[in-house]
């Protein structure tokens, strides 16, 4: 969609009813040479399939009562996380919402550490203190999943401010759902990013529904990347089901941030194949089964697989082998989480405050 290539794309009627996304400013064609780098594509497939298998087992563990609280699955949106994060350097920053499992895995937090966190165990990436919605990893500059819609967007602007303050060339990626654009925090944060020219890429994962409210019922404009015009920042829309389209759009935005210290608002059009969280059905009240099934025909993992098979980069056997490996990796994560101890009672009062000052840090 709008990326100048239709390779791997499966047509479906749900797409026809929408206006095709426009090309972003200066969006370039991606050469076929880029797309046939077999090793890279295998890594992309691995990353996306890992998220899928992980989330399937997460749903199962949730149903068994192993995971508590709110739990928002990422199934259907894997091309967004993988396509974006594959374009980053290790010293770049990533911040996201409560639907954060996919991005955490794509950034490289181990399935063990993520699953242990979901289980509320000491070996979780937030030591069992955060849970599904608050995955963090300081070593990977993964600045967390955040649970108040819109509130993390100013934080991303602040990270961009810090990068510019120090004269660095890192980039901050800020993932958000499309309902975020209706919050005041979004407006305030993007205004400052545009005003101060900060190296932040704001990526809207437009999965079309904020909980059960369709975009059209929540936003006065429907091509929401156009909101960037209000802040005088570069903006574009891309196909969030096509990992290459994501890479292409993100590469351009990241380049703009890194080289020119300028922000971008990128709208990735995607769809979640599950309910808003584990407590609601995938379809029924606010969207039809038919619509869901139409989007499932554009499953991002299937699209990538078909393209790789067509290019001769992937055989049935290789796919099967990869899938078995990933299933085993997720099983290992579950076994690890089961065995990991609960946080000890004394952990209750840890991490409320630190007892250090800047003097201590300098030493």
């Amino acid at each position: 969609m709008g990326t100048g290539t239709s390779r791997g794309r499966v047509k479906n009627s749900a797409q026809k009813s929408e206006r095709a996304p426009r090309k972003g400013r200066g969006e370039r064609e991606r050469s076929s040479r880029d797309r046939s780098a077999g090793g890279d594509n295998m890594a992309l497939l691995r990353s996306m399939l890992l998220q899928r298998r992980f989330e399937e087992r997460t749903a199962e563990a949730y149903a068994l009562g192993k995971i508590g609280g709110f739990c928002h699955l990422y199934i259907g949106q894997e091309a967004v996380s993988t396509g974006t994060i594959s374009m980053l350097r290790p010293d770049d920053y990533v911040i996201t919402t409560y639907r954060d499992h996919g991005q955490a895995l794509a950034r490289g937090i181990s399935p063990r550490a993520v699953m242990a966190e979901l289980f509320g165990r000491i070996d979780g990436c937030s030591r069992g203190k955060g849970g599904s919605m608050h995955l963090f990893d300081r070593n990977l500059n993964f600045l967390g999943g955040h649970g108040i819609v819109g509130a993390h967007v100013p934080l991303a602007t602040g990270v961009g401010f810090a990068i510019k303050y120090r004269g660095g060339d890192q980039v901050c990626i800020c993932f958000m759902g499309e309902s975020v654009v209706n919050t005041g925090a979004f407006h305030e944060a993007l205004n400052m990013a545009g005003l101060w020219k900060l190296p932040v890429v704001y990526i809207i994962e437009n999965n079309r529904y904020g909980m059960g409210t369709a975009l059209e019922r929540a936003s006065a404009i429907h091509d929401i990347y156009e909101r960037g015009a209000a802040y005088n920042i570069a903006r574009s829309q891309c196909d969030g089901q096509d990992v290459f389209a994501m890479q292409e759009a993100v590469a351009e935005a990241v380049g703009r941030a890194r080289k020119e210290s300028l922000p971008t608002l990128l709208e990735a059009r995607t769809y979640r194949f599950m309910g808003h969280s584990m407590s609601d059905a995938a379809s029924g009240t606010y969207r039809t089964k038919q619509e869901l099934e139409e989007w499932q025909q554009r499953d991002p993992i299937v699209l990538l697989r078909l393209m790789m098979e067509k290019n001769g980069e992937l055989t049935e056997e290789a796919l099967h082998k990869l899938d078995e490996e990933l299933k085993a990796e997720v099983q290992d994560a579950i076994d690890f989480a089961e065995k990991s101890p609960e946080p000890p009672p004394e952990a209750l009062f840890e991490h409320v405050l630190v007892d250090t000052t800047s003097d201590a840090r300098e030493e």
């Binding site: 602007t157 510019k164 303050y165 901050c172 925090a185 944060a189 205004n191 400052m192 840890e350």
Partner: protein, 326 residues
């Protein structure tokens, strides 16, 4: 020892800490070109430049969050709210981002930052601009809350706040900025969490903080003329609270009045009374009496405003009540 204003004391603290650590920056509305709505940041733009003294749009929720993000990426922001009445717009960032980041990240992300600005009523600013937020802000774990009442405490506490690796909320007072007091030339810090016995006496303890310490001192002066001598315990920090200082004073005087600027229900004073009844029950010779703002939005009319605010006369009456003198 030089005598300077509370405003200049804060300004010195900012300047010294910005000279000391180039990760420290000041951000807020009108802090740079305008030189500060209350001139606390006068001259800082000229000395440190626009990257470190940053004017923002009117966007409290946004720039408070910018501060949290910058702190996560290694800077040490000082976020100024023109008043805490506007800071309420940013409460989500204080409560849900700054105060919780360390905990929900399992200890990975301390937030070394300061939120500061004037708090409480000035004169005839009416309902929306005359509010004391100590109890709102002190309610949440994950932050420290300081309430300096004198220039000495203002400078020493702000410096400690900037060096602290936690979010520290500094509640200043519009009516305090012009007050004067002695501030030494040499560097010093006032420790967070430590009360100061501002007046010693044996008949009653007045436990208070911040701007109300001045009211307590006025009350103490007048009571002294009637030979009633009181302890004035200036908490200076309302989270964490110096319970030991409260206990020591009440065990000596056996009577206590708790004076605060805010409203009654769930106020700071209610918490102090709880500490007193738990720790000093056997030492009390009278029920503790609280002095606070009337339970109404602040009225504009001068006479009504006076009726609404806690003051020295109300404090004196409370002291006499706990001494069974009236």
């Amino acid at each position: 020892m030089p005598t300077i204003t509370y405003r200049d004391a804060l300004s010195q603290a900012l300047r010294e800490e910005m000279q000391r650590d180039d990760r420290v920056f000041l951000m807020g509305e009108e802090v740079a070109v305008y030189q500060g709505a209350y001139k606390v940041s006068k001259g800082l733009l000229q000395e440190f430049g626009e990257m470190r003294v940053v004017d923002t749009p009117i966007t409290e929720l946004g720039f408070a969050g910018v501060g949290v993000g910058a702190a996560m990426a290694g800077l040490r922001p000082v976020i100024e709210f023109m008043t805490w009445n506007f800071g309420v717009l940013a409460l989500d960032q204080v409560l849900n981002s700054a105060a919780k980041m360390l905990y929900m990240s399992g200890g990975q992300y301390p937030i070394p930052m300061v939120f500061r600005g004037p708090n409480g009523a000035a004169l005839q600013l009416s309902a929306q601009h005359s509010q004391a937020f100590e109890s709102w802000l002190a309610h949440m774990p994950g932050v420290k809350v300081v309430t300096p009442g004198t220039p000495y405490d203002a400078k020493g506490l702000l410096k400690s706040a900037i060096r602290d690796d936690n979010p520290v909320i500094v509640l200043e007072g519009e009516m305090l900025y012009n007050t004067k007091g002695e501030v030494p030339d040499e560097e010093y810090l006032v420790p967070i969490g430590k009360a100061d016995l501002k007046r010693e006496g044996e008949h009653c303890s007045i436990i208070t903080s911040g701007k109300m310490a001045l009211v307590a001192m006025q009350a103490a002066d007048q009571l002294a003329k009637e030979d009633i001598r009181v302890d004035v315990v200036d908490l200076r920090t309302v989270r964490p609270m110096d319970i030991e200082a409260i206990r020591t004073s009440v065990e000596k005087t056996n009577r206590a009045v708790v004076l605060e600027e805010g409203w009654e229900l769930a106020g700071i004073g209610a918490q102090v009374v709880d500490y007193v009844q738990r720790d000093c029950f056997d030492h009390l010779d009278a029920p503790v009496v609280r002095v606070h703002q009337a339970d109404v939005p602040m009225p504009y009319a001068k006479n009504l405003e006076k009726l609404a605010k806690p003051d020295a006369a109300k404090t004196i009456a409370a002291v006499k009540k706990v001494m069974y003198l009236e």
